[in-house]
C-alpha cells in the first residue's frame, strides 16, 4: 500500500506537502525513544510516535521511513513540518491512538 491509500481514509490528514504520497508503506513500527527507533525500525516502515521534535525527521530520513504518523491529534511544530518537506518525509496526523492506527493499517493489508 501507499501513503496515498492511508490519507484517503477518514481520520488521517497529511500535514506535509503532497509530493511524497506515492511512497510505499512496507511495514509499521511504533516507538517514542528515538535511539531505539534508530536501532530497530526498518526502511519503508510507517512510524507511529508521539514525539514531534525536529529530530524525528532526521531519524525518518536516515532510515528511509515511508511516513511518520502522529497519533491522538498531537500538535506538530511548523519547524518539524518544514524540515519534513525539505527531506520529503510525509507526516500524517490522526485522532486515533496507536491501536486504532494498527487496526486500519491491518485492514489495508499490512
Amino acid at each position: 500500500m501507499k501513503v496515498n491509500d492511508l490519507i484517503k481514509k477518514e481520520n488521517f490528514k497529511l500535514l506535509t506537502d503532497n509530493q511524497t504520497i506515492s511512497k510505499e508503506i512496507k511495514g509499521v513500527y511504533c516507538c517514542d525513544l528515538l535511539s531505539w527507533v534508530m536501532a530497530n525500525a526498518k526502511a519503508g516502515d510507517a512510524w507511529i510516535t508521539v514525539q514531534t521534535h525536529m529530530n524525528i525527521v532526521a531519524v525518518a530520513s536516515l532510515l528511509e521511513i515511508s511516513c511518520i504518523i502522529i497519533p491522538e491529534s498531537i500538535d506538530v511544530d511548523m519547524d518539524t513540518i518544514n524540515k519534513a518537506n525539505e527531506e520529503n518525509i510525509p507526516i500524517i496526523s490522526t485522532d486515533l491512538n496507536s491501536y486504532g492506527i494498527f487496526c486500519i493499517l491491518h485492514d489495508l493489508g499490512l
Binding site: 517514542d32 525513544l33 528515538l34 535511539s35 521534535h53 525536529m54 529530530n55 532526521a58 519547524d79
Partner: protein
C-alpha cells in the same frame, strides 16, 4: 584554576530524594568533601534553592540555583541560573506548564520545603515528577533570555536523556556542555560516541542521598572562583 564541582544535587523537595537532603546537610556535606561549587537541581522546582544559598552565605562554597527540568519529550535538562531572581522567574513558567495534578506522597514520596534552619516550612503538593509541557527548544530560548545555562543531564543513560529520547543532539541548539552520570566511564563513553568529542563533558552525582554527593573528582577550569566565571566556563 580548577574547581571541584557537583552541579546535580536534589533536596528533599524532589519526590524521590531522601528526607535527609536538607539545606544544611547538603551544604555542609559539600563543604566537608571540599567541593568549590554545587548546584541545587530539584525536579521541576527551584523552591529550596534560596534556603541552601542562605546556609552557604559565610562558607567558602558557591551554590548555584538550578532546576532539573523534564521537557515534553521527557528529556532531563539541568538549567542553572546566576541568581535566585532569574530562577524564580523561570519557576513561574514551569508551574504554569505543569499538568494540574497533585502529588501522591504514598507513591512518589513527600516534597519538603525548608528554611535555612532545616525546618520544614511546608510540602509542595504539585506533581513535580510529571513532564512540563514545554519543548526542548523552548527551554533553551527561555533560559537564554534569563542568562542561564542548559546542560543536558546524564546523557549516558538510556532513559530521560537527550540522546536516549531524541537519538542525537539537535544541531540547532547552542550546547557546549553535557553532563554524564556518576558511574559513567567518560573515556569509554566518548570512544563509543565519537561525535560528542566537540562538547565539554562534566560529571555530576544526581545525588538523592547525602552519600551520593561527589568527592573532589569532577572539575572545570575557571578564571576565578565565582559564579560569572563558572557560567563563562560552561557556556
Amino acid at each position: 584554576m580548577k574547581i571541584a564541582i557537583d552541579f546535580h544535587i536534589h533536596t528533599a523537595l524532589s519526590p524521590c530524594a531522601d528526607e535527609d537532603m536538607t539545606p544544611n546537610n547538603i551544604v555542609n556535606m559539600s563543604v566537608l568533601k571540599g567541593l568549590d561549587a554545587i548546584a541545587i537541581t530539584d525536579h521541576n522546582s527551584v523552591e529550596n534553592c534560596k534556603a541552601c544559598m542562605q546556609v552557604a552565605q559565610n562558607k567558602d562554597i558557591i551554590i548555584i540555583p538550578g532546576i532539573e527540568l523534564q521537557t515534553k519529550e521527557e528529556v532531563h535538562l539541568i538549567c542553572l541560573f546566576k541568581d535566585i531572581e532569574s530562577a524564580i522567574i523561570f519557576q513561574k513558567l514551569v508551574y504554569n506548564k505543569l499538568p494540574n495534578k497533585e502529588n501522591i506522597p504514598e507513591i512518589f514520596g513527600r516534597q519538603l520545603l525548608f528554611d535555612a534552619q532545616d525546618r520544614i516550612i511546608s510540602e509542595n503538593n504539585k506533581m513535580l515528577i510529571a513532564s512540563v509541557n514545554i519543548t526542548l527548544n523552548e527551554v533553551f530560548y527561555e533560559i537564554n533570555k534569563l542568562n542561564g545555562i542548559v546542560i543536558p543531564a546524564h546523557i549516558d543513560r538510556s532513559s530521560y536523556s537527550l540522546i536516549g529520547n531524541l537519538g542525537f543532539i539537535p544541531n540547532e541548539l547552542q550546547i557546549r556542555t553535557l553532563e554524564v552520570s556518576k558511574n559513567c566511564n567518560i573515556n569509554k563513553f566518548l570512544e563509543k560516541h565519537k561525535n560528542l568529542n566537540k562538547y565539554q563533558i562534566i560529571q555530576s552525582s544526581d545525588a538523592h542521598y547525602l552519600w551520593d554527593i561527589l568527592e573532589r573528582e569532577s572539575y572545570i577550569e575557571v578564571a576565578t572562583k565565582n559564579i560569572d566565571s563558572i557560567f563563562e566556563a560552561l557556556k
